[in-house]
Symmetry: C2
Subunit: 353 residues, 2 copies
């Protein structure tokens, strides 16, 4: 089969990690008889520099005409002083909205080989950590009406509608069925009308999934529970803002933020795949970046958008094997590791496919 992949290399370490991951994908193509046609498009800082806007229309059009999008990382200090709607982040928010990518899947898992890297005590980590955060991605206070009242004040509208909550709730319940069978919906229903509404819709959708366990936590409590008892979680279902905070907290607890992929999905099979870490401008272009989160994002792409399960398993297995062989990029190295650069890490993974 032939698949069309739109590629946004992005800023900072984006190009390096994406290039390493494309080589992995090419090797998968060779091995299983697929071809991947890449179309490189611009967004974020690179697009601001080249076209004066963080999200050129051409980028949206080409992404829409593709089977999936692979993204490196956007942003950097160079563009930090631009006004809100001209910054790299506006490109990221814009592309999510334009492509209808309402479901952000962020697995926070501990890699057995890297368990010492977790900031949590081993009595809390126990035999691992494996939480899937299902974050709503195109609603909430991110996209509600914004107002600036001169020098006197400003506001953003937090809101959710029924269809928005229904569809993200279904993604969470469906995911839980394939995992531990439990959804924890996180809100602030003791204060927010939006949260009370969210909770009522989640309760309705739960009736379609009598086999999935459901509980509810307030966001402040969830932020605490993640730290002292992460094992209680299987799938965390939450809105855009709380999901931003909790998924980052959860991923940091694994100690392996350079390893964690993410998927942003829409209604069909189409999706955008990217590492959860940022563009790390301080080490850009030095062949020091860890490409694993992007390589694992490619595996998610094969699994979710292209339906190529064996291929995805192959990549994930090769990453595990490479870690077991002791190869590490600088960010995850300890005294016993064989430190490799971004390019070499990619090659090691390929040799283990």
């Amino acid at each position: 089969m032939n698949y069309k992949i739109a590629v946004i290399k992005g800023d900072g370490i984006g190009p390096e990690i994406v290039e390493a991951s494309m080589k992995v994908l090419d090797k998968i193509g060779e091995k299983y008889g697929h071809t991947f046609d890449y179309t490189e498009v611009l967004a974020g800082g690179a697009a601001i520099d080249a076209c004066g806007t963080p999200l050129p229309q051409e980028t949206v059009d080409i992404c829409k005409a593709s089977d999936a999008v692979l993204l490196g990382a956007l942003g950097g200090p160079k563009w930090d002083n631009l006004p809100g709607d001209k910054r790299p982040e506006a490109g990221l928010l814009g592309i999510r909205k334009a492509l209808g990518l309402f479901a952000n899947l962020r697995p926070a898992m501990l890699f057995e080989e890297l368990r010492d890297a977790s900031p949590l005590k081993s009595v809390i980590i126990g035999d691992g950590l494996d939480v899937l955060v299902v974050r709503e991605l195109t609603g909430d206070v991110y996209f509600g009406e914004k107002k600036k009242d001169g020098d006197f004040g400003a506001s953003d509208l937090m809101n959710y509608t029924r269809p928005e909550v229904e569809r993200i709730a279904r993604v969470a319940f469906d995911s839980a069925r394939k995992r531990g069978g439990k959804v924890t919906s996180v809100d602030k229903a003791n204060v927010l009308e939006t949260s009370r509404f969210w909770r009522s819709v989640v309760l309705e959708i739960a009736k379609e999934y009598p086999d999935v366990e459901l509980d509810h936590l307030y966001v402040d409590n969830a932020a605490m529970q993640l730290v002292i008892n992460p094992h209680q979680f299987d799938v965390i279902l939450t809105g855009n803002l709380f999901g931003d905070i909790l998924s980052d907290e959860a991923s940091m607890l694994t100690g392996s933020i350079g390893m964690l992929p993410s998927a942003s999905l829409g209604e069909g099979k189409f999706g955008m795949y990217e590492p959860i870490h940022g563009s790390a401008p301080d080490i850009a272009g030095q062949d020091k970046a860890n490409p694993i989160a992007t390589v694992l994002s490619v595996a998610m792409m094969l699994r979710y958008s292209l339906g190529l399960t064996a291929e995805a398993d192959n990549i994930e297995g090769a990453v595990k094997k490479t870690l077991a062989q002791g190869y590490r990029t600088g960010d995850i190295a300890n005294e016993n590791s064989d430190v490799v650069g971004c390019v070499e890490m990619g090659e090691k993974i390929i040799s283990n496919l």
Copy 2:
């Protein structure tokens, strides 16, 4: 001197921990020649049961006529199914607003004797943890206009005005001057108009405090940094919603949530003081609760509202001494501790005054 204290014992373990703390305060009065006149008033669940509303007007009036308010904890499962504005939390939010308590000071500190209780590895804890979260308490999405659009959706308005941000920023900068000299303002300025406004006002106020270091973090990054590098923080300045989440996360990292006090302050010296933990209905009335967070809240009251510094120091010293003697309530006990109940813990502290 004679001081008027309004006392809201509250629900669950509230009455026990407040009574133990009042005895400590009485002893301080005896020792230093002050009298404390207590007026007990109702809020939360107890007020719902007695008066059908979580915040009777009489409570507000008596609090306003006092020098300070001492609060136990509000809420419990008994009242969880009431509509939003009839729940115990509405009493808490209502009292903050009615009394103009815009500045919530939440110290998250590690007690040397309890350092093993932190979920963080000791390499991260290092020689302690001492962060002061300064949370704005009467604005933000908590108090913006709420709308319910029938079955179809709901919204809450997030907003801040200049005077609201100015006054809380000053509290944070003033606090930093008395501590480590650093303020970290937390927002989501890459997405929210409210946050961009917040940041611009904080930058202006910072000019009045050239001796205080200021930096800015996005809330998702702050949630991560707390877990891997809490030592970078001295004072965290943030809005109501982010403050709710981050202060709970920070306090959990100390492993001593049963030990942490808080102050909610208004324009003058008046304030409300309460432990940050909840009403723990599961252990209510069993003499198992840890009164230390409330006792330390009394110390904050002496310091901030009554200007009685020596008295506050005396209480804090007595708590430290009691811990050093090995006395622990169940929540903070380990195999070597002398486990005592709520009443006895209060007595031990008094004997160490």
